[in-house]
Symmetry: C2
Subunit: 266 residues, 2 copies
């Protein structure tokens, strides 16, 4: 019997320590093919390359895994690995990360790590993204090991419900976490200040700054809460973007009424 085929991608790029630690942790659990961007693509969300020329570079082997890089996005990595010559069959699992930095709360919207995981999910493959809440390139990933192995093993044995993938965040706490919690993404926003600079020619430019604001600090069933307690957060992420319950709520009654009208073009 063939080993399970595990596709790995990330958004920090092929040289990031996080993806190498991920392979260290799970290399014995399957046959691994790893395709990552050739440079950091943090904040890449589910962006894909529509009109550009994508290249794939063979980066040799690491711990038995076949390593490749591309000039594309994290989502491109999953599409490309699958639909070009890199994979000889549909993967049994898509694993992304381990991201350098938190993808909890609203970060899931912007995360390239979770973008790639959702792309795997879109094609019906059990998919998970792992993140450590330390964005340093010198982050210590060792606390992730038992959680990564348990979830990857569990997904290989049990699969995942259709249209749902997992967003797993591991806290960078002094005491390594000993448990994980199934929770929801905390509400909140980035404050999104931009720091303004002046270039040598006298023109302004801006860089994103700001801080994540927890809009429900008293809730205990959120990812931000359990991370603050030194526990691992596991959030089931839904691929379907339709607000099902909202197709005709009271606040959208005006829209439902508009949908009964006939419009003319003058």
């Amino acid at each position: 019997m063939k080993k399970p085929l595990i596709l790995i991608a990330n958004d920090d790029g092929i040289t990031a320590p996080g993806v190498h630690r991920l392979i260290d942790f799970i290399h014995d659990l399957g046959e691994i093919v790893c395709l990552c961007p050739d440079s950091p693509r943090s904040g890449g969300s589910m962006a894909l390359t529509v009109n550009g020329a994508l290249r794939v570079k063979d980066c040799g082997e690491y711990m038995g895994a076949r390593m490749y890089s591309t000039n594309g996005t994290p989502t491109d990595c999953v599409k490309l690995a699958w639909h070009t010559v890199l994979l000889d069959r549909k993967p049994d699992l898509v694993v992304t990360g381990i991201n350098h930095g938190s993808n909890a709360a609203i970060n899931v919207l912007y995360s390239g790590t979770m973008g790639a995981a959702q792309e795997g999910c879109a094609f019906g493959v059990p998919s998970v993204g792992f993140s450590l809440t330390d964005h340093s390139m010198r982050a210590d990933f060792s606390a992730c090991r038992p959680f990564v192995r348990a979830i990857v093993s569990g997904m290989l044995s049990h699969g995942m419900p259709e249209g749902i993938c997992l967003n797993v965040n591991i806290p960078d706490s002094v005491q390594p976490p000993v448990c994980m919690r199934l929770v929801r993404a905390c509400r909140g926003n980035w404050s999104d200040e931009y720091k303004q600079y002046t270039d040598p020619a006298g023109h302004a430019f801006y860089m994103l700054a700001g801080a994540l604001i927890n809009a429900e600090p008293d809730s205990t069933d959120t990812d931000l809460h359990v991370l603050s307690q030194g526990e691992v957060s596991v959030v089931p992420v839904r691929l379907d973007r339709t607000a099902d319950d909202a197709t005709a709520p009271r606040e959208l009654q005006w829209l439902a009424e508009l949908c009964k009208e006939t419009f003319s073009h003058e």
Copy 2:
């Protein structure tokens, strides 16, 4: 009383006809500030520029609207307009598009137009993205007019439920549409073939091809269905990615069990 402040963005870039037609259609409904990418960013999803230097260029006026471009993504446009000097107050509405090409079905995941709309929604502003199902730069947007005006007027009067924005697709049909339908995003995938080329140096590169596959052609409550009938589709899009109903379904029982365990670090 001040006019409503409407922020406009897109993913086809500041020179695209679609955004100019949008302004033609709604310029009398509010004070308009328009910030778009300086080049096409189709497939930009909710990507944002994390470490790069963003610039904003004044592009003058169009139909009374203040026009700006940036080297950033569609989502950057919304963040930048808001958090730099372009807006003197919180906008009353974020409108994106009109996109050249469909953002129905799974396209909502990858759409920069809908990424920018969701960014507005994330900050609690009623937000909507409009798309015409013709990706040509010579597309005729005139059929969009009554629908764009009705929805923008309705949102200004009634607002939107928290955390929900609208994805409106207008069919490029021979007979202009006369009605719209509140529906859900159709399930389905892109087939995602990549066309392989060989560059002058003999190296391979790839370009995304493929076709959208409707996975539920017999359903009548989907955006792809109503568009095929020559009607306008309106899908309420949910910002929250958590699969609420899935925090403990039967298929994730194994995960719920893992969350009861204590893990050790050896």
